[in-house]
Symmetry: C2
Subunit: 223 residues, 2 copies
Amino acid sequence: MTPQHHLPADIERTSFHIITEELEMMGLTPPPEHEAVVKRVIHTTADFDYARNLRFTPCAVEQAVKALHAGAVIVTDTNMALAGITKPGLAKLGGTACCYMADPEVAAAAKEAGTTRAVAAMKKAAQEHPGAILAVGNAPTALLTIAEQIESGLRPALVIGVPVGFVNVVESKERLFAVCEKHGVPAIVAMGRKGGSNVAAAICNALIYSAAEMLDPSARGWK
Amino acid sequence: MTPQHHLPADIERTSFHIITEELEMMGLTPPPEHEAVVKRVIHTTADFDYARNLRFTPCAVEQAVKALHAGAVIVTDTNMALAGITKPGLAKLGGTACCYMADPEVAAAAKEAGTTRAVAAMKKAAQEHPGAILAVGNAPTALLTIAEQIESGLRPALVIGVPVGFVNVVESKERLFAVCEKHGVPAIVAMGRKGGSNVAAAICNALIYSAAEMLDPSARGWK
């Protein structure tokens, strides 16, 4: 049988239906407040492990949606995550997204401090946008920098901690989550090795769609 | 124990060492010609399923490296995949990368033909760069368009077929692989549901690093 061309919106609806059914069969249906995020990450990766890996501080989604309604800036740790965030959706909420990895000032600061660009970029993010949504899909060092900054008083609207990898990644996510819990900072973290820029963007998009849907129930939903 | 800040190059070396060891323990060590691609995809996703999912037409990597040495253009189906491709690495080989998804001509052509932008973007790619490396990490419709074009005579240097998803994705990848095999077009395809823009970019980068290493053995390797 030749596969048919379908419309993207129909494909998305059918995909979420399949994800919902398979999660149910596996006994992994997420609680309603996490549903949009968990399902969109699975939609992005086709990896049901995320139903087990994703951890949320209490009311993290609610607080992130509130921040998006207030026009929060999203700062990502890679241009790839930035490219994956829905710009029309974010613009409707009056929000913006940015990434400092290619910033010449950041490169200079990293060189001077003998650190990584990821660390210098997150320090700049903390300075420029102290109440931002920080989305980290790549660099565990960025996550550790955020943890340090939170201990020194930074209060981001949300930290999305989903770097992927084999060295320092598991530990950096555990550390970040513990620090966020301790200081009451909302966090969504993919525990374990898995994650990525695509996962970071998917979580941002789930939150953006949820925020838009709340303002206009006829807007594109995630179900 | 507090996780330490490490240098990115050290982290990458250690990560590939861990991946090599775990693949060996699982009895999934890839053949030497596929090693760079398989390991970099696992490095990008922390998902060892790709050791089983990735399929290559005979000599696909060798032919892709040859095309990169000849300055082949890489065309991606998303700006996210484009953002993930190493630009300095590609520039050293004299190559470039592009994506037509945000092209106003493509949007107009899609509207006129009542099709998706992904389809119109791949048609434009086939016209503008008939000998390109086509990297599809998102849209199964883009993959089906490439299959049709190959049946009509298009001969891309390589097709990377790694869209992710639940509807039409598995079938579109099987169809593309069969068409590539039949017509002797090099292809690297992630069979099954998994894939993504990050996987498409990772495969491009593995090929770029391999091509660079062949010209200059002191260049950044993948091991």
